[in-house]
Amino acid sequence: MSSRVIINTTINGEPMEFLVDERDSLLEALRERIGLTGSKEGCNNGNCGACAVIMDGRLVNSCCVMAAEVQGANITTVEGLATGGELTPLQDAFLEDAALQCGICTPGFLVASKALLDFNPNPSEYEIRYWLAGNLCRCTGYDKIIRAVQHAATQMRA
């Protein structure tokens, strides 16, 4: 029988302690135990990237991480991007460039793009497309998203 375990972790810079079921995924824990519903369940099998979060500096799909695994980890979700109500240049660029329609994929794209720009502040178009290949958008096509990341990168380097 799976039982409940207490998880201590840092989410978006804040120490958090919460109870999860051993069978919960990190995505389920974020959405249902902690109420951070920014990370989306798209496919729930690692294909779509809508649940992407940054865990100890690397991009992961939270649907493919067990909640019990994140003991002591440092996690950034889409809610952790903006600080004090101010959008980041990346988020502004997604709005300015209309890089979304329905918005379901957007949290994943934002988190994945942040991970890219943290790693490489000046990516080529090819590198952006390659990095974001694991994020699926079924509305816009990808060109506006790529442009938004390019614009954000330019602005962040300025």
């Binding site: 799976s2 051993e22 069978r23 695994e69």
Partner: protein, 294 residues
């Protein structure tokens, strides 16, 4: 999700004991990109996840000229392709690890998981075969080693017995004058399962091939080491004719099935083409040229 418990052993002994005591539904959890999904979708009965990422040996990534490269079974792809030594000495592993899934999969997925999953199309397995990878296994009877080409036995099946776990994969230091290359054919640029994949590792003395290993995947019940393909090259100059002979040996060894990804005819053809291309690129790397992984 099934009713699973979660354990995080700190030693290989403890992990082996958990696997043995809890039977075949106790599953090793490394990156989880396959097993979590399979457990959720009930494609694998799972009662326990044995998370092996707290075990130091499974996180090891180290190289020495005498010992070669040791890749802990849980080391995720991104650590492998961002490693400077691996990039310089084992670019073939970068070829594989940088095209398995997308960035978020590469943040978790491991060579060990790919091997233990034992899918016929596993994109790291041909590379590990041609690089003479050796699987180091710990179990109730202690340690044993199995060559990567002998590890998988059928789709989803391998040599691991009850209570055994894959701890690391070791690769000898590259031979002087050697180069290796992995390629995959998919109908799009990224994020798909191989129709066919192939790897070649060859050593050149001038233009004479002194050592060659060739493997192909997604064309048989398990990733296939093709000794005849390497033998078609060894002791001979690398020419269009000898390359064609090796590629023909790969095509002859392939016993693919028809499915939604490709037909038998296409896969036989691709076995030839990818073998030919990996030989050409491996030779370029053997001569010191940079062949980008993409």
């Amino acid at each position: 999700m099934q009713d699973v418990t979660y354990r995080r052993p700190a030693t290989v002994q403890e992990a082996s004991q958990l696997l043995k005591d809890n039977g075949p539904t106790a599953r090793v959890l490394a990156g989880g990109t396959d097993i979590i999904v399979m457990a959720r979708e009930r494609r694998r009965d799972t009662s326990m996840f044995v998370d092996v990422k707290a075990i130091p040996e499974l996180n090891q990534l180290s190289f020495s000229a005498s010992e070669g490269l040791t890749v802990g079974a849980a080391v995720p792809c991104y650590r492998i392709y961002r490693d400077e030594t691996v990039s310089r000495l084992y670019p073939c592993l970068v070829d594989s690890t940088s095209l398995i899934g997308g960035t978020a999969i590469q943040g978790r997925a491991s060579l060990g998981g790919n091997l233990c999953n034992s899918g016929p199309a596993g994109d790291s397995i041909p590379s590990m075969i041609v690089l003479e990878g050796e699987a180091h296994i710990f179990g109730p009877n202690g340690w044993r080693t199995v060559k990567v080409e002998d590890f998988c036995t059928a789709p989803g099946r391998n040599v691991l017995d009850a209570g055994e776990l894959l701890v690391s994969i070791k690769f000898p230091a590259p031979r002087p004058g050697s180069g290796a290359r992995f390629l995959r054919f998919i109908p799009r640029n990224e994020m798909d399962i191989a129709v066919v994949n192939s790897a070649t590792n060859l050593t050149l003395d001038g233009n004479t091939v002194t050592h060659a290993r060739i493997a192909i995947g997604a064309v048989a019940p398990r990733p296939l080491f093709v000794p005849a393909a390497g033998e078609a090259l060894v002791g001979r100059p690398l020419t269009d004719e000898t390359t064609a002979a090796a590629a023909t040996a790969s095509r002859d060894a392939a016993t693919p099935i028809d499915d939604m990804r490709g037909s038998v005819r296409q896969r036989k053809h691709l076995s030839y083409v990818l073998t030919e291309r990996t030989i050409r690129d491996a030779a370029r790397r053997a001569r010191g040229e940079i062949v980008s992984h993409v």
